[in-house]
Symmetry: C2
Subunit: 341 residues, 2 copies
C-alpha cells in the first residue's frame, strides 16, 4: 500500500548493475561473481524487493497457480479434498484458487471465460455425477477448458471423456458394505442417496446389487431412494421410506450415500423413536470429522480425501494422463450392530 512498488530497474540502478544481472541473482543463476551477487542481494533485501510474479508469468508462460472446482466447500468432504490439494500445491510452489461449480455453468454470465482468462497452470474438477441430459453443456465446458490448461478429475470421469483422474471404487465399497451388514445378520438393507444409475458412472447400484446377490438376497426397489447428499435430504428420504412401508417391512439397516445423509437418517430415526443401532443400523461414507462424535458414533468409510487431493495435484503437475483409484477403508463404530433375532 506504500508508494510505488519497486521494480527490477530500481534494484539494478541502485546496485549499479544491469537488470539482467539482477534477474540472474534473483533466479540463483550460476554465472554471477560472488561480489556482485552480494551487492545485488543487499539492495534487494534493503528495498524489500519481490519480483512480480505476473510480469514473470508473461515471459515464462506459467503462473504457478492452480484452480479447483468443487460443489460445496461447506461439506467437509470437499474441504478435505481442497486441503490436501492445497497443501500439496504449496509444497510444489503453487497457489490454489477455488471456483464454485457454477463456474462451469454455461447459462450463467461468462461460462468458463473467467477460468480461461486466468492462465492457470492446471485445474482440478470434482465431478460426482453426470449432470442431467439438458445440462451437457457443463460437460462440454469442461472439455473446452482443456484447450487452455491441463485438468484432472476427482470423483468420476464421464464416459468417453479421457481425463486423468482419481476416482473412487464405489462399486466395491458398496459391495463390501452390504457384505458387512449381511454379515451382521441384516436382510432388509436400504440404500439412500445419490442419483439414478445412468447418471452415476461409479455404479454404486452394481455394487449394492452384487452385495445382495452375494448373500442371496433379493433387490427390493422400495429400499432404494434417490436424494441429494445433504442431511435434510437424508431425513426426508428415510421418513418417506418408512412412511411408505409397513413397520414389519422396515429396513433394519441403511446405507447412506455419505455421512451427511447418514446424519439426516439418524436424526429422522431418533425423531421416530427408533433406537440406533438396536432397531436400525446406519452406515455412512466419507468419515467426516464429526462421525466419531455423533450418537452413536457413526460407522463410515474413510476415503482418504486429503491424499486424493494431493495426488490430483501431483498428476496435474507431472502431466501424467492416468486414472487412479483412491484407497478406502471401512471404519467400524457403534452405529451398526448385529441384528437381534
Amino acid at each position: 500500500m506504500s508508494s510505488e512498488s519497486v521494480t527490477i530497474y530500481d534494484i539494478a540502478s541502485e546496485a549499479g548493475v544491469s537488470i539482467a544481472t539482477v534477474s540472474r541473482v534473483l533466479r540463483g543463476e550460476a554465472n554471477v561473481s560472488e561480489a556482485t551477487r552480494k551487492k545485488v542481494q543487499d539492495v534487494i533485501d534493503r528495498r524489500n524487493y519481490r519480483p512480480s510474479s505476473i510480469a514473470r508469468g508473461l515471459t515464462s508462460k506459467t503462473t504457478h497457480s492452480l484452480g479447483i472446482i468443487l460443489p460445496k466447500l461447506l461439506n467437509p468432504h470437499y474441504a478435505m479434498i481442497f486441503t490436501g490439494a492445497q497443501e500439496e500445491a504449496r509444497k510444489l510452489g503453487y497457489t490454489m484458487s477455488l471456483f464454485p461449480w457454477s463456474s462451469l455453468d454455461t447459462r450463467e454470465y461468462n461460462p468458463a471465460a473467467m477460468l480461461a482468462e486466468r492462465r492457470l497452470d492446471g485445474l482440478i474438477v470434482c465431478v460426482e455425477y453426470l449432470p442431467p441430459d439438458h445440462d451437457v453443456q457443463v460437460l462440454s465446458a469442461l472439455h473446452d477448458l482443456r484447450q487452455y490448461m491441463p485438468v484432472v478429475l476427482i470423483g468420476c470421469v464421464p464416459p468417453s471423456y479421457d481425463f486423468p483422474a482419481i476416482t473412487n471404487n464405489s462399486a466395491a465399497m458398496m459391495q463390501e458394505v452390504v457384505r458387512y451388514l449381511t454379515g451382521l445378520g441384516h436382510e432388509r438393507i436400504a440404500f439412500i442417496g445419490g442419483v439414478e444409475e445412468d447418471r452415476d458412472p461409479l455404479r454404486r447400484d452394481v455394487g449394492y446389487e452384487n452385495g445382495l446377490k452375494d448373500a442371496r438376497l433379493p433387490y427390493t426397489a422400495s429400499y432404494r431412494i434417490y436424494c441429494k447428499g445433504t442431511t435434510e435430504a437424508g431425513s426426508a428420504a428415510l421418513n418417506q421410506m418408512l412412511d411408505s412401508l409397513k413397520p414389519e417391512y422396515w429396513p433394519t439397516a441403511v446405507i447412506a450415500l455419505n455421512d451427511l445423509v447418514a446424519m439426516g437418517c439418524m436424526a429422522a430415526a431418533r425423531d421416530r423413536g427408533l433406537s440406533i443401532p438396536d432397531q436400525l443400523s446406519v452406515i455412512g461414507c466419507d468419515n467426516l470429522f464429526c462421525a466419531p462424535y455423533l450418537y452413536p458414533p457413526l460407522t463410515s468409510i474413510n476415503t482418504y480425501q486429503q491424499r486424493t487431493g494431493a495426488r490430483a495435484v501431483q498428476l496435474l503437475i507431472s502431466g501424467e494422463n492416468k486414472q487412479e483409484t483412491a484407497d478406502w477403508e471401512l471404519v467400524e463404530r457403534a452405529s451398526c450392530a448385529r441384528l437381534k433375532p
Copy 2:
C-alpha cells in the same frame, strides 16, 4: 493444452484491424463502429479467444484476485468464512486463493514472499489470537504485507495495529451466555478453551467474569481451562477438570470456546456416564452444520460467518478502513437445561 494460444495479434490480423481496435471491442469501449465490432467479435468467437489476464495485469496493475489466510479449512467455521468470502469475490469478478497460516510464519522457507510476489488485489487474514511473544515476527510479517496489498482482518485485530477488520463481540457473547446459563439456575459454570487473557484481544474473560458478576457468582479458577479449539483438546480439558475436582464441585454447565470443543466435552461427559443436559449442560459457539445433529442437539451461537467473509471482501474492495462487528445470535437446542434442584 492445444497448439499455441491465440493472442490479440492473431485476432487483429485475422479480422483485418489493429490490436488497439481488438482491445477496444474486448473491453466494450464506445468508439467502435458496429460493423467492425461485429467483425472482430466474430473472429474472437470463432477462435475461442480469451485475453490473458496476466498480460492484462501487467499494464493495469491489477490482478482481480484476492487471497485469504486462515488456520484450518477443515474446521467448518473457516470453511464458512471462506465460502462467504469466495462467493462475494466472485460476484465482484475476483478470484480467491487460499493460503495456510504458515504463509506468515517467518521461520519457514520464504516468509511472505510467495504472497508478496503474487500481486494480489487484497488479502484477508483470519487471526484468532495473538501469537506467543516469541512469535511476534508473524505479526510483523502481517504488517509488512500491507506494503504490497490492502489487508483486512477477520477475528481480532492486535492492539496498536490499525487494520480494517470484522471482529466478534466475544465479550458480549460470553456475558450473554453466562446470563443464559445462570437464568437456567446454574451456578458452577466452566469455561473451556482458548488462550490466556493477554493473548485474547477479544476479552472473552471479561465477558465471562462480568456474566458471573451479574449473577453475583464468584470467579473460580478451577472452572477455567485453556486449550486448543479441537474436539480432542475439548475432551482432554473436561476430563482434566473433572478429575481434579470432587464430584460435588463439578460444574453443572460448561461453555466451550467453539462447537468442536463442545463436541469433545460432550463425548468426554458421555464416556463418564454423565448425561447431557441433565447432569451437565453444554454450550458451544459457531453453530456448525452438525450441531443440530449431535445428541443432544447442541445449543450454540450463530456468528454468521458467511456474511462475515462476504463483508470482509467488500471492505477489501472498497478500501474503507473501518472495523465492524459481526452479528450473533444464541440458538437454543437441547444441550442446555434448567438445573434440577
